[in-house]
Amino acid sequence: MTDVAPAPFRNEKALRRLKKRRAADARFRLYGLSAIAFALLALSVLVASIGFQAISAATYHKVGFDVVLDPAVIAPKGKDTPADISRNVDGFYALIRSNLQGTFPEAAEDRMATRQLGDLVTRLAVLPTAKWVSENPTQIGQAATIKVPLSDDLDLYLKGAVSKEFRLRLGDISAVTEAAPRQVRLTGDGAFKALQSLIAVQRQEVGDAVDARSILISAGSTTGRIMSLDADAAEVTLLTGSATDFSNVRPTARMIELPETERNVSDLQIAWTLALKDKGRVSRVPHTSLLTHTDSTYPELAGALAAIVGSLLTMMVTAFIAIPIGIFASVYLEEFAPRNRLTEIIEVNINNLAAVPSIVFGLLGAAVFLGFFGLPRSAPLVGGLVLALLTLPTIIIASRAALKSVPPSIRAAALAVGASKMQSVFHHVLPVAGPGIFTGAILGMARALGETAPLLLIGMVAFVADVPVGPTDEATALPVLIYSWSTNAERAWEPMTAAVIVILLMFLITMNGIVVLLRRRFERRW
């Protein structure tokens, strides 16, 4: 043994080493922080984008119609039982159509316009009214205000989602001259100067494409399309209303970026919608039908109720099957099973099962539950069974981890006072492992709640118009509804889909919240 001189605290080498270590430390922290920052950023972008889209579906536009519930129309002789009335879509729609035609007589001039007018409100939108009247037959023959959702495209237009629109206030119109029926010339000193310069600016940006854009001019309930203009005058084709509305007012001009041929709403429909709005008949209301209606082919009528109930029924079946089986399996494996080759093989396979893609479970469900056992298609029963298989490994693994974390000294203590094996497990081990087991169970259920693929394969993607009441009724589930709505072509489905995603997320957050509460409440230290 040779004497080693003690290393000095401060020399160049020691300081260099310290500096290096500190730098490495700082670097590592930076990596960690940036990883977390990235994850948070991704999460907030995701949530923000979904939330932003969903917000526009949180409200929608309804139109009010003052009508008389004429028995000859809604409850003609021979079709006047409550059941008939509740199904009499044509009758109720006729009330609305005639009201619209009365408000906008110009639509009668050509068939195209008549059809477009009818498209303001979907036929099936009157169903809730029909149901209401059938339940309150004293209303028949009375005057009533029916509020029905505006067609989805016009709803989107009012929300500004159809096209970019340049809106500006024009100068005073001093003279209105009617050149021909529905053709008017509006003049006002420099009234159109601002619009002219807008067009010039746009022309610089997009070239002659600006000529294809519609420029609408409205005052009160009257709207027309500007055909040509200079600084002081414009030739306008009236779409709806009367030309006199323009005199001595400052009308509003709208330049709609998307040409009429490229959008689902015509200038005429926009004009009518603006007129209805001006008359105070359009109101923006909370979109409660999203929670109270079932699926529909029309976005403004569609709701997620059937899917919510379907998801709940499915989860009930899953919980009833997966939680008890999972807990018993894990208790047996962890506490009672002999440690041998067979147990090991079972354990490895349970872990493998947890990694099997969910669609494989769907195939299995389709083959076994539908094919072999002949259970009904599209039923929450089958969905629940398949999802139970899917969550079992998750629950077993989590429960076993919870059981493993119970200190062996507690088992020994129980045995030593003369408790049997069963008593030691059920009196001492399970209560301690309980919160962990339930955490696993709820996380497993949360995973099952978000599963889409296996449910598609057992037919739960079917269009379901009735709220399921039992586990063997046809049903769909929230994630499947999201999937099927997201494949629809119409623009209005986009915010609707986002809204259902938000509903699903609410469910998941609630479940995870329960997990956190359970942990807080029952966490034991020893």
Partner: protein
Amino acid sequence: METTMTESRDVSAAGITMDETQGLTFPRIECKNIDVFYGDKQAIFDISLPIPDRSVTALIGPSGCGKSTFLRCLNRMNDTIESCKVTGEIIMDGENINDPDIDPVLLRSRVGMVFQKPNPFPKSIYDNIAYGPRIHGLAASREDLDAIVEKSLRRAGLWDEVKDRLTSPGNSLSGGQQQRLCIARAIAVRPEVILMDEPCSALDPVATARIEELIDELRKRYCIVIVTHSMQQAARVSQRTAFFHLGELVEMGETDQIFTNPRERRTEDYITGRFG
């Protein structure tokens, strides 16, 4: 009893006979030719050991010598270890408790155990004590149970410290109190034998002293077997000592004799600190 013990000085480890032990004191437990195997590995080699009633028997020896394993034979806790196999006879009340048709649950209600680390149940102090009497049906009424809890806590010398907070969790006590709680828990099921596996190794000297006093007190009612690493503790609390080494019983006899005049060289080396 004390007198009988001091009179019979000449008891050898190997040549002990039934008559001599009876002269010593009635052996509560008689172990004959115990072998213990963990899988293929033999941990205990042919140990025969009489354990007298109403006294403290200390098992000493270096780590891994099999003293804890032997202790766990006495209430068949080794049954819970799958690979563990015990052969030989352990006679208690004329029955071989190693017999397959002896119910280990019943055995453990008569042979209590206290562990190295205090391990109260994650329940209230009251429930810790009441659990054993409850599952064995020892209390007919709530009052009975209260009485058992109080008596057990008194015997464990814990009553005065916890009587006002019987509903607070057992884990909220200090380490020494927890260990006395565990002793009270063992007493509550009215055992005849109490096994203690290094009961003071996790405690500070003050708590250790309290436990040792308690053991001395309990000796009047119970047959106590204690495993300890502390030679001083063995000398302080036990009347008889058995020295284990490498799975064999090297020597046993009265504590005084083992510590002052060991017959075996290995014993002497161990107690004088030359190895182990």
